[in-house]
Symmetry: C2
Subunit: 461 residues, 2 copies
């Protein structure tokens, strides 16, 4: 603790927990991208809203940059601290504060892991429906900062729809209590919605009031084997028109290769080029019949080559693991990730162009595709061969992303569907948002964070 600025921080916020050991700087300074070398000034671990405010006031007085930090499971470098910033970790502010049965809301501190939020909701017989594989590590504050999506968007929407109120410490140190859990509130600009997805550049989310809902009816999981990319949207349409889909996720044979090598069980005798895992409500026999009708129709059309339906909770989990285990199974290959979206109606033409582009651009790389196809969201994971250097690999991938961004621009799509822009996609932001919008983002940032101290360099320069 040699930096004199940290002495003044402790003077202005006595009792604030600080970490400055090299192992801590490394741990809290990097996120799941692992692309940047962590180099934060120190790690502050406030225990209260007042301490968060004190840290922000000190930061403004001393012009120290601050990186808000949740589970750091982001894939866009949004939580990286590589330039002497103070990391502001919310991990000690991880408690449920209030449940209201009439409002059906749960108020939590921002550092609460998503899985703990799920469990707290279930204790009251309700669910918080946003869900994805990082649930055990990510925090609700980080989910809000990136408007996290995941595997249930097709049924429940993104994080944005589930936020009834937010407490935020703005970049200027002011505490904002946004919307306060109201259902109807037409009293000026909805800063709650502005803060969702702002990637820690406008304010630090310290508390959230989350909407809860009834648990879904009983559901089944079906795994489908497909012959080609071309039929994917037809299979989706056939299922969507017949049943209430809770999830509709696709992945490729390369994904199955990696995830089974990592321990997942594969249920078919043969391998196929493409797969879908779908979950759907089966309130009654009519629900079962509709699912079978969709499956049979797709088989008759030749769009589906094989399928299996879960007959137990354990089997449902096994089928889900084929999709949910992919990211973990790829981690050792330092995958380069694209997370892009277009309108569902644009998906067939976009998939065709993108498949051609990726096939040409990466003839020697292992490319793993998966995605939330019912939301128009495609994930492309390019694996680094062992004999290629990090720099060479990254250079080639960035070149392809530039081409992909041009395709996306023509399709009016987004360079980031759910991971956020952070550092990773900042060079491509202009493919999704035009210059006038980016200029307005700078203007809005100026209002919330006049000294430009919150997560500087993330999202835009």
């Amino acid at each position: 603790m040699t930096d004199p600025r940290l002495e003044t921080l402790l003077q202005s916020c006595p009792g604030l927990r600080l970490k400055t050991e090299p192992a801590d700087l490394e741990h809290y300074g990097r996120d799941w991208t692992r692309r940047w070398t962590p180099a934060p000034l120190a790690i502050a671990l406030p225990g209260s809203v007042e301490e968060v405010q004190a840290v922000l006031r000190w930061a403004n007085a001393h012009k120290v940059a601050v990186v808000p930090s949740g589970g750091r499971t982001g894939l866009s470098g949004g939580a990286v601290a590589a330039n002497g910033e103070l990391v502001l970790s919310l991990e000690r502010m991880n408690k449920a504060l209030d449940f209201d049965a009439v409002d059906r809301t749960l108020t939590v501190q921002a550092g609460m892991p998503l899985e703990a939020v799920h469990n707290a909701a279930l204790e009251h017989g309700l669910i918080y429906p946003v869900d994805f594989a990082a649930r055990g590590s990510c925090t609700i504050g980080g989910n809000i900062a990136t408007n996290a999506g995941g595997i249930r968007v097709i049924r429940y929407g993104n994080t944005r729809e589930w936020i009834a109120g937010l407490k935020v410490v703005a970049g200027n140190g002011e505490l904002l209590e946004l919307n306060k859990g109201l259902i109807k509130n037409s009293s000026g600009y909805d800063f709650r919605q502005l803060l969702v997805g702002s990637e820690g550049t406008l304010g630090v989310v310290v508390e959230a009031t989350l909407k809860l809902t009834d648990p879904p009816p009983a559901s089944n999981v079906m795994l489908l084997a497909l012959p080609s990319f071309e039929v994917l949207m037809q299979v989706f349409a056939a299922f969507r028109e017949r049943m209430r889909l809770e999830a509709f996720e696709f992945f490729t044979d390369r994904a199955v290769h990696h995830v089974t090598a990592h321990g997942a069980q594969y249920p078919f005798a043969e391998t196929y080029p493409y797969y879908v895992v779908t979950e759907y409500a089966v309130a009654d026999e009519a629900g079962e019949a509709a699912a079978l009708a969709a499956f049979e129709h797709c088989m008759e059309q030749g769009w589906v080559l094989d399928g299996v339906i879960s007959t137990s909770q354990a089997q449902a989990q096994q089928l889900w693991r084929l999709r949910e285990g992919i990211t973990e199974s790829l981690a050792r290959y330092k995958p380069y990730k694209n997370d892009v979206s277009v309108r569902i109606s644009a998906m067939p033409a976009f998939l065709e162009e993108t498949q051609a582009l990726i096939g040409d651009a990466y003839p020697h790389f292992d490319v793993v595709w998966f995605g939330h196809i019912g939301d128009g969201n495609l994930h492309i994971n390019v694996l680094k061969p062992d004999d290629t250097s990090d720099a060479e690999f990254l250079g080639q991938c960035e070149h392809v992303t530039k081409l992909l961004a041009q395709v996306l621009q023509r399709f009016h799509g987004s360079i980031s569907a759910e991971h956020g822009i952070g550092l990773v996609k900042k060079p491509y932001l202009s493919s999704t948002r035009d210059a006038a919008e980016i200029a307005l983002m700078r203007g809005v940032k100026q209002a919330f964070d006049p000294n430009g101290l919150l997560n500087p360099g993330k999202l835009f320069d």
Copy 2:
């Protein structure tokens, strides 16, 4: 057309339709509040996005204030032009532009009336579910500017949830294409959501891509008679837990007095102090049974004194008219309107305090209560007696609103649930949004509208 600025406007936008006749200035310069004397400079009626941009560029060059104008059915003075502003009416931009069956979206020009949007959706077998009594006169652009709510919020949410994309001309004249219909898009600040509810102070909505959904299952309408305010939330809870509510609206005997005098049919032999009209899905016999069970439970508890269930579409409409006809039946009394909200859980205590306040404050005025009680939204209409002057009446009502705002502040409620702030509630904005938030609103406005020309004086000074 004597003002030289209008000559320059026509030079910079040849072919722009302009109106300057006194009757037009009066018609387009005022909204349903009728509290301010219209005095606009002129009325511009652009026919294209390019013309809207040209008007905004001219306004910036000549520092002329602009009032965006839809159906002017607002009740907060948000569309009033009383200070030499140019009214920018979207009424000629009123067409449906595109329907996409895969995305289930309808793209429309901002001047399209809400009822025309409903009809356009129905042509494709889908619905746009936001609905309220002004549907024939209000426009979708105005709905977006106030985040309009209405009678279906309990089931479908506010306008905000149904906007997949917006085209907006910002105050600086730049055209913004926001979100472009994407389901998932985490690429920086969601200005689409910021614009919803911004009351024409940041930009002019010129086009919207609306989400559509399946029509609801068959529904019944039930009218309930209640003995007191105190049981209202218990009746709501009894119905909510048993069935899928499409609407749950309450009103008082004074409302029934006015609406029946205006032609609505009253189905009971006796009169009661309070009423609820509720609509609920009846997909099958179980749905009917659940509704009857809720009704019988409430009768046994003494919370409900009488009831009637619609047996035909015509009767359903008759029952609805008792609620939907209220605003029209009060119009001749120049009612002073409060439109407030609290969390549902706070409703019982808030109702008790508010009832006492209103009873004490208006002993000689006819006060008509109604509201969307399932959303925590209460409408209070105070009718002006014939022998009280406008000024005296307004003064007394404003005094009471000041007291009501203090109550709301203690309950963390909102001074405007769905009408917006406009001019009418501007003096009370600080009861709902604190000084730090209002300062940030000014900062955001500065970014979008650097010359402060869009709807100046509305929302905040």
